[in-house]
């Protein structure tokens, strides 16, 4: 007691004498924003480029100066405010990992797309955005003799990242073939860069197929249908007998084109485990609360033998409710695109904003994506993965 008083008096005296005896107290304390995971990290648009008509590349850097780590082929989820609404969209990195402190993502105008139009028209250096991720498993195997990359339209972005990344590895021998289809040379982002790279790097082969003739780049005229894909790959030498070589085929593009490519590769007896696909479907805003409960719903989250009871507010996803309540759940893209937030629905029913990346067999076994699932009634889920 006495000692406490004495210490208090000493402190008082020190502060009374202030600048005469000691450093003054700091005028302010630095506060750190607590981690609110679903909001992602804050990034600044460092530089903007327009690699083609109707496309924009944003060079993003972390605002706090942290490096942005990712692997070639992965995507980020961008949180963009358009007309007072916070929207999420997935965009692949187009830069090579480690090529700078940040990441380049490339956005192509989608007719009627809220976010893409907003970004293509208004993106500017200095803007602040929020970013989640990286996510995705569209990753080429490391040890390969041949890497065949097939892109349609804006599906070129992860492919460019992979090409740029691979070509910087000077000791690598992997042959890279790129088949890239688009409507016209004007719209085809990165086409001229790829053409230039093919000239200087003998291990890169390139085939461009545009629907419209003309333009400065050498290209075939047509679309990536089954026959064209086959013929182009053959002329690149990317379809012949394997002869013990390790090969991977990676496809990214619109659904129709992917179907054609898959068929062409099937005919050429490419094995399923040689095939890697990335499919992009941005969730439509309208599908957000189809049928979701209008009342708060109880949710039980089970994880390694323990359970936590919480409440999902109307409109909230399971993931949002859990993170808000401090229950940790795995996740990455938060928009149904990466599967990181997979949980098993043990009891109850949910509605999910489609499309999602769940496979038919995952669905059949009762898996749901917590980031896009909203309860229809009381639910219990089990987090199975670490």
């Amino acid at each position: 007691m006495l000692e406490r008083t004495f210490r208090g008096l000493r402190r008082d005296l020190r502060f009374f004498l202030g600048g005469l005896v000691a450093e003054p107290p700091p005028p302010f304390l630095v506060r750190h924003r607590p981690v609110r995971p679903l909001e992602g990290r804050e990034v600044r648009v460092d530089r903007v480029e327009r690699p083609a008509l109707d496309s924009v590349s944003l060079h993003l850097v972390d605002r706090a100066g942290e490096p942005l780590r990712f692997r070639a082929g992965q995507f980020f989820t961008l949180l963009v405010e358009v007309d007072g609404q916070l929207l999420r969209r997935a965009y692949s990195a187009s830069s090579a990992p480690g090529a700078g402190p940040g990441v380049e993502i490339t956005v192509r105008r989608v007719p009627g797309g809220l976010v893409s139009n907003h970004l293509v028209d208004h993106a500017d250096a200095g803007q602040l955005l929020r970013l989640l991720g990286p996510s995705g498993s569209f990753l080429p195997p490391e040890e390969l003799d041949e890497l065949v990359l097939i892109a349609g339209g804006s599906g070129i972005t992860p492919i460019v990242s992979i090409v740029r990344d691979r070509l910087t590895r000077s000791a690598e021998r992997t042959r890279i073939h790129v088949l890239y289809g688009h409507r016209s040379g004007e719209l085809a982002a990165f086409a001229s860069e790829l053409a230039a790279l093919a000239k200087t790097h003998p291990r890169l082969g390139l085939r461009l197929v545009f629907e419209q003739p003309g333009g400065e780049l050498e290209h075939a005229v047509g679309r990536l249908d089954r026959a064209t894909v086959r013929a182009s790959l053959e002329s690149l030498g990317a379809l012949g007998p394997r002869e013990g070589k390790k090969r991977a085929y990676m496809i990214c593009g619109p659904v129709g084109m992917m179907d054609e490519v898959r068929a062409a590769l099937g005919e050429a007896s490419v094995e399923p485990d040689e095939l890697f696909e990335e499919r992009f479907a941005s969730p439509s805003v309208a599908s957000v609360d189809v049928g979701a409960a209008k009342e708060p719903q109880p949710l039980l989250v089970r994880r390694s033998g323990r359970s936590r009871a919480l409440v999902v507010a109307p409109g909230q996803t399971l993931l949002e409710a859990a993170t808000a309540a401090g229950v940790e759940m795995p996740y990455s893209c938060t928009m149904g695109g990466c599967g990181a937030c997979r949980v098993k629905l043990v009891e109850g029913q949910v509605t999910e904003s489609e499309p999602t990346c769940l496979s038919a067999s995952e669905r059949a076994s009762g898996q749901i994506l917590a980031c896009v699932a909203r309860p229809l009634g009381p639910c219990t889920v089990e987090v199975e993965r670490p």
Binding site: D12, P24, F28
Partner: protein, 401 residues
């Protein structure tokens, strides 16, 4: 002259310390009423001389009021009952109802936290300090964060004062209403705190003068003094300050935050006016009334003259770049601060009039310090929060036009 010569020979830190002591002394010397001195004095020593708010540790303040129980639950204050009803309907959620996803760049020129020209750079140049464009933005960031930090500290005081007053007040309808105010103040602490840590990433220390006022209210046993201090003086001034910042800021999240807080605060001040009017006119003796009248005047002065943002000075100019006297000059002549001082009092003075603490005997004093021109404004009991916001929007529009 001699004084200046001696001061000039001292190292800057020592000079600054001496200036701080002299300023504290002048605060005490200015208080004319011994009763007021007795009530503000001890708090003044703790705040101005011992800097208890800045010692880097929690502060314990002993409360001396008593809780007033009434086992008959009378309901005889219809105006308070009505406020209670409106308060229940006006609740909002600081987490969900504000657009927290908006990124705030304190250095942005597009969404300025404070308007351009808040400081008069010419005055700084007069004192030999030149700030480049970047520094100008940075000092504005400091000032905005300082102001919001003081709001936050004030809200903490309001939270505890509201709780104490709820215990101590004798009106039962007032107690129920008070419960909602406690929730409101908790929410204000929540949102200001979140804004400072998430968006501005710093928290300034509590200003010594604000500390003095809070300390003296907390330790005063009379509920009506707590009430007068918190609901009328601090809240009234805060309401004015929130309003000014609301109409001046270009940062959308802050604007919405302030709009919400203003709607709550308008109710609080209204309640303060209703409760005190009742008490001052019916319960207090003339000498008790006079003491409160004097106290209010002294506190008003303390708030008007002494909020010098020394915390910002310490950050930027201490150690010789500017003297404290020069800094006072800069702050006093800053156009932004002038607006604040004016608008703050335009809300306070009419409320004091309404509760009967502006009798003819004190008017000359208010007149002397130039505060009488606000006599004709509306008191909180004649205003709604919505009306206040509409007013602010109108003046902001008029200024923009």
């Amino acid at each position: 002259m001699i004084k200046e010569a001696v001061m000039g020979a001292l190292p800057p830190r020592v000079r600054e310390q001496i200036d701080a002591w002299m300023e504290a002394m002048s605060v005490f010397a200015e208080i004319r009423d011994p009763k007021v001195l007795a009530s503000l004095g001890p708090a003044g020593v703790r705040g101005l001389l011992l800097h208890r708010g800045k010692q880097g540790r929690p502060t314990e303040m002993r409360a001396r009021h008593s809780a007033h129980f009434d086992w008959t639950y009378p309901s005889d204050q219809p105006e308070m009952a009505d406020l209670y009803r409106r308060a229940k309907a006006g609740q909002w959620d600081g987490e969900k109802d504000l657009p927290w996803h908006i990124s705030v760049d304190p250095l942005s020129t597009e969404h300025r936290l404070l308007p351009e020209g808040f400081f008069d750079l010419a005055v700084l140049e007069e004192h030999g300090v030149h700030l480049d464009a970047k520094e100008q933005m940075q000092i504005t960031h400091s000032l905005a964060a300082w102001m919001l930090s003081q709001f936050l500290h004030g809200e903490q005081g309001a939270l505890f004062a509201a709780a104490q007053v709820t215990e101590a007040v004798q009106f039962f309808d007032g107690k129920l209403y008070g419960a909602t105010q406690v929730v409101d103040e908790g929410r204000h602490v929540e949102v200001f705190n979140r804004y400072l840590s998430d968006k501005l990433e710093r928290l300034y220390q509590v200003n010594d003068n604000l500390f003095v006022i809070i300390d003296s209210l907390m330790s005063d046993g009379r509920w009506d003094m707590k009430f007068l201090g918190m609901q009328i003086m601090v809240e009234g001034l805060a309401l004015g300050a929130f309003g000014t910042l609301y109409s001046q800021t270009r940062e959308p999240l802050l604007k919405e935050l302030l709009r919400r807080v203003i709607l709550d605060e308008a109710r609080h001040v209204h309640y303060g006016v209703v409760a005190l009017r009742e008490h001052v006119t019916k319960e207090l003796s003339e000498s008790e009334r006079r003491e409160r009248e004097d106290w209010a005047f002294e506190v008003a002065l303390l708030m008007r003259n002494r909020f010098m943002a020394y915390e910002v000075y310490d950050e930027w100019f201490a150690g010789g770049r500017l003297s404290r006297a020069q800094w006072r000059d800069v702050v006093e002549r800053a156009p932004g601060m002038t607006t604040f001082r004016q608008v703050m009092f335009s809300r306070l003075v009419p409320n004091l009039r309404e509760i009967g603490l502006l009798s003819p005997r004190i008017l000359p004093h208010y007149d002397r310090v130039g505060l009488l021109r606000y006599m004709g404004e509306k008191a909180a009991s004649e205003l709604t929060g919505e009306g206040m916001i509409a007013d602010l929007d109108r003046t902001a529009l008029a200024r923009a036009a």
